[in-house]
């Protein structure tokens, strides 16, 4: 199992990158689990699939019905399996809404155990996660092998990238590598900004993705990014990232 976390500030295009990675990696193996761990983004839309169940709903259901459950761990495991959406080339787990009030210690502890046992049977787990890396900090997802931080050239995007790197270290995620991917990079000046940043912050710069009108448009309309023509520069370069990651992964 190889866990790839794709993260970055909202609006930098991380979900587009994550969705295309799911698509390209699932061409090589059908044992791919996509995880939407960012309540503010929409990986299912980007993948062009519909979902109606989230792990957050299951967790809430657990909280209200736990008094009447006899084997909570087994119940939860069953519900998680029911929450997984199955598509032709990949499975999808949507983490969903954040916790409400009350104590989540026990349910999270059960989740940790179940997800750990369950995820290891996939070849690749691709997680679209928000910059706070919430599910990693709670250890509901145990660790990431590769962390891909997507950023544009904006100061905020870069600042968030730096913070993520610090956080990943603090959380002791034991990742093999943390990469930077520049997005919406138009012109030499933009390239230089990202390259200098990567050097200064000690990131491995994996790829520079061009500014692509169609990516922005698909995103705006909430249409599946996976419909992006194969021939586009953007798609070509993300495919290259997929190849690099699977090359190392094996």
């Amino acid at each position: 199992m190889v866990v790839i976390a794709v993260t970055g500030k909202g609006g930098t295009g991380k979900t587009a990158v994550a969705a295309l990675l799911v698509r390209y990696i699932s061409e090589k193996t059908s044992k791919v689990l996509a995880v939407d761990a960012d309540p503010d983004s929409n990986l299912p839309d980007a993948l062009g699939v519909e979902v109606e169940r989230t792990l957050g709903d299951v967790r809430e259901l657990f909280q209200v019905s736990r008094d009447s459950l006899h084997d909570k761990s087994s119940w939860l495991e069953g519900k998680i399996f029911e929450t997984i959406h199955e598509f032709e080339n990949f499975d999808l787990l949507v983490m969903g809404r954040p916790e409400g009030e009350g104590c989540y210690c026990f349910v999270n502890n059960l989740l940790r155990g179940i997800l750990k046992k369950f995820m290891r049977h996939y070849d690749y787990v691709i997680v679209d996660c928000e910059a706070g890396l919430e599910h990693f900090s709670r250890k509901t997802i145990e660790s990431a092998d590769y962390i891909i931080v997507v950023t544009d050239t904006s100061r905020k995007g870069l600042k968030t990238a730096r913070k993520i790197k610090e956080l990943a270290k603090e959380l002791e995620l034991n990742f093999r590598e943390i990469f930077l991917v520049g997005n919406k990079v138009a012109g030499d000046e933009a390239k230089r900004v990202i390259k200098d940043f990567a050097k200064k912050e000690n990131f491995v710069l994996l790829e520079l993705l061009p500014y692509d009108e169609r990516v922005v448009e698909l995103d705006l309309k909430g249409e599946p990014i996976v419909n992006l023509p194969e021939t586009s520069e953007f798609a070509r370069r993300v495919r290259f990232i997929a190849e690099v990651l699977t090359g190392w992964g094996e």
Partner: protein, 498 residues
Amino acid sequence: MRKKVEIPEGKKVKVSVGEEEFPFEISPMFEGERIRKGDMFVELAGPKQPGFELVISLPSDQVEDLKATLVGVDVDEMEEGGRYPFAMIYYIAGEKIDPDIEPIVERRNHEFQNYIEGFMHINSRDTIWCRIGKNMIKKGLKSLLQIAKATMLLFKNEMPFIEKIEALYITDRELVEKLLEEMARPIYEERDARVEKLHDEDVDEFYSCSLCQSFAPSHVCVISPDRPALCGAITWFDARAACKIDPEGPNRAIPKGECLDPIAGEYSGVNEFVKQESGGSVEKVKLHSFFDAPHTSCGCFEVIGFYMPEVDGIGFVHRGYPDTAPNGLAFSTMAGQAGGGKQTVGFLGVGMAYFRSKKFLQADGGWYRVVWMPKELKEKVLKYIPKDMRDKIATEEDAKTMEELKEFLKRVDHPVVKGVVRPVDGKKITDGWLEEKEEEEKEEREEVEKGPEVPATFPTQIPTQVPQISAPTIRLVIKNAKIYIDKVVIRKVEDKKE
């Protein structure tokens, strides 16, 4: 009395006896494997088809060892991608086997079937959900009887007290549905009823829970059959299951030791454990006591209990109740005082499930000492309240302030008014409301001002009343209490009407 299933005439039946070679691997490394839809040959039971699993104990002469029977279609007659009803019944026999052990054996079916490569098993009882992977068929799986045999061998290997085991698998819809209603569900209900009857004295071990220690370092939950964790999430059974998986994890076994006080629920083993786990800050814990060495609270509790000296009774308020209780405090304020792993006399965090405990605060009179709870909470736990108390516990509709509460309690003649007799041993534990004629003992008040961390132990059963010298004044009635106070500030307040 347990009976074997009678297979109706005219059904398609297949039988196989004895050991055999399996065309699949068996290993714990396959645990948790999900057979993806695309890799699935067929689905058995699950969200879309009926099914169940059941282990029943029988006399040894009725069980034919390693015999597997299938009623209904087999794998080689199933359509790829199809979904079928599925029941798995195991008959077990052995010297140490009785109906009590059935659920423990049954629970392992999940684990063992997960060891089988290419076979998925999820859930339990009547919610089971299985899948057979295409790879299993490719490798040469011909019959469900092979799965049954492999599972039976795992049972016998891992649980040597099973001397004989026989399996009956059913894919025939009519029979699955019939047995589910007539055989399986009544047995599940019978088992659940047995679980409800389990008490502290029936077990040798309690379990700890230290999941919350990141929030409350000195807090440790003691989970017994009669006292679930105060977050409401973990019962004794849950904790026992977790402890079996990870004995050194957050849920560890606590040998009960000697029972020092059967009424308050004090055990030498529990005392030793909490002392060690709290770093010495908690010396002892009595499981069913509100006033004397009460259980500590993390911050997770669903409900908080609070003592109201004005009426000498206990109120409860749950997390979702937004207003203040008759003592003028809201849940959050009281939670802040009692949380953090402190042993705070006067406040007690509990889980909703504790209200149904037969030992609910039995040292302090249990329900007969409870005077107030929000309507929403009262309705939830109403069936656990003794019938003669149901109309005597006030809600916010009866009383919002202390004065209203006093009036209400007098009107309904609540036991606290004339003195509570605790049902467990018939002992009168409170004196009731002593009217203003009580002797005055003013010195007590100053004693608590000695400085930080000095425990001031008040003699039990002696009401400490501060005299009404001149208005305005305060009145302290403290009974049955040990108090640790950092600092007490007593300030004169402006005269105002209540």
